[in-house]
């Protein structure tokens, strides 16, 4: 993380006018990709993700199949034009890691043992990035899985927290992410409060980490509500 002399919080307001515990404008739509078994579009401020689910479907080649459960495969991908300087197409090391933690974030919500020998493929496509892309992608994946009619213990709610200008905040935008003292993306199952994604980088005290986790679990309820609304709107 880089340093800046610029103040990121002025008079209690963040660069985009939010208060520390405010989430950006959220837009969520379900069923946006007709070809997919389930799909969603999720936007937090400018950060925009599509997710599509294909499956459960037969896994080929067969030697990759698991006899007693479905394989969950997750792919996180960014459009070349989603960032300031064009990104070369294809996954880099960061995308490989995010794909892995995304799979771990989603897996506890599913009953994979119900679909032996199949694969459930979750594709996340970030078409615009302004911070917090991995949690935006997980929210989209959560909706796409529900849209696909895949049985779930609960929706997966994801939100980032962090610290800027000595203040704990949630839902970091890109500039806040670049200059933050900490960035903590979290995903959880709201009913049981099980945390399925937890990463952190920065330099903050253990207490601040704990507080941030608590903040996110609380503010995540708003995201949960939006997810449920989006699913309801699908069938209006």
């Amino acid at each position: 993380m880089m340093k800046t002399d610029e103040k990121l919080i002025i008079n209690g307001k963040r660069l985009d006018g939010r208060k520390p515990m405010d989430i950006r404008e959220i837009e969520m739509k379900v069923g946006v990709i007709p070809n997919a078994n389930g799909s969603a579009y999720v936007r937090f401020g400018k950060t925009t993700a599509f997710a599509a689910v294909y499956g459960p479907r037969e896994l080929i080649p067969k030697h990759l199949q698991e006899p007693d459960k479905a394989i969950l495969r997750c792919y996180y991908n960014m459009a070349p034009f989603s960032v300031s300087d064009r990104k070369r197409p294809g996954p880099d090391r960061r995308a490989v890691e995010i794909s892995k933690v995304t799979k771990l974030a989603i897996e506890p919500a599913l009953f994979l043992e119900e679909f032996p020998e199949t694969t459930i493929d979750v594709y996340i496509d970030i078409i615009q990035a302004d911070g917090s892309t991995r949690v935006t992608g997980i929210n989209a994946a959560s909706l796409a899985l529900a849209d696909a009619g895949i049985p779930m213990r609960d929706l997966i709610v994801a939100l980032s927290g962090g610290k800027i200008d000595d203040t704990l905040i949630i839902d970091l935008c890109g500039k806040e992410d670049n200059y933050s003292e900490a960035d903590i993306p979290i995903a959880f199952l709201p009913n049981t409060k099980e945390i399925t994604l937890l990463q952190m980088d920065g330099r903050i005290t253990p207490q601040e980490v704990k507080d941030t986790i608590r903040n996110i679990l609380k503010a995540g309820e708003q995201v949960y509500k939006k997810q449920k609304e989006a699913l309801k709107n699908r069938y209006k």
């Binding site: 007709p34 070809n35 991908n77 070349p80 078409i127």
Partner: protein
């Protein structure tokens, strides 16, 4: 289903009630991606394509030291179809990118000579990235239209100390021409435009034609089986004609 579609066509009808030479409902959304210097999302029915244009400081080619550079890529993202998978672009994605690229390059859409920053050293590189969101046929025409519209929305970023200042702009990307790309399919004795995926799979042949506003042809590509000369001639005329209709949407 195959028989059903063919029988309908015999009666000049299509499964979605269109006429043979009728486009699906076309939706256009400009400036869809604020991070990009230009962008557009185009839907032909449920075919859904996003194009983003990024500008980069690039080295010119040695044989055109004072011209900007154009580069076109396409990703068939696996979100768009059960038949698309992660991995580098396959031959279909490469073909699509190259056909769209040729339409823009050969028509001289972009005034590349105005994109020189420092002769022989630095020019603007215009990167067109095509992203398929949902595949229901006729990807090429939708992508070409989205690319052209994205170019019309493209702004040139400011430069300070040899670095690009993103999201501050010095002007619009200079364009000279506007090519429209139309693919016309042959099926039985009929010619149809804007085939949906189910139709596309049944086509006997298909020819893609890019037409400039002055009526000149700037790119063509036959993409399946074979065609007779008189069929090609008919398709060219039809494409020139239908291009006017699509051009109104820009």
């Amino acid at each position: 289903m195959k028989e059903y579609i063919l029988n309908l066509l015999e009666k000049n009808k299509r499964i979605d009630n269109r006429k043979l030479d009728e486009f699906r409902k076309i939706e256009i959304q400009k400036d869809f991606i604020q991070r990009a210097e230009g962008s557009a999302r185009v839907k032909f029915g449920s075919t859904d394509v996003i194009v983003g244009v990024k500008l980069e400081i690039s080295e010119p080619f040695p044989d055109t030291p004072d011209s900007g550079i154009l580069r076109t890529d396409a990703e068939f993202t696996p979100i768009a179809s059960e038949d698309f998978f992660p991995g580098p672009p396959n031959e279909n994605a490469i073909e699509l990118a190259r056909i769209v690229d040729r339409g823009i390059r050969e028509s001289e859409t972009i005034d590349l000579e105005k994109l020189c920053l420092e002769k022989g050293e630095k020019v603007w590189g215009v990167c067109i990235d095509i992203r398929i969101i949902n595949h229901d046929g006729n990807l090429i025409d939708a992508s070409a239209l989205a690319a052209l519209i994205a170019l019309t929305t493209t702004k040139i970023p400011k430069i300070k100390d040899d670095e690009i200042i993103r999201e501050e702009y010095s002007g619009k990307l200079p364009l000279k021409h506007k090519p429209i790309t139309i693919s016309i399919g042959k099926i039985g004795g009929k010619f149809i435009i804007d085939p949906c995926l189910q139709e596309e799979n049944l086509l006997d042949s298909i020819l893609t034609v890019s037409v400039r506003e002055d009526g000149k042809i700037c790119a063509m590509q036959k993409r399946k089986n074979s065609l007779k000369v008189e069929e090609i001639n008919k398709i060219i005329d039809l494409a020139v004609n239908k291009s006017k209709e699509l051009r109104k949407l820009i």
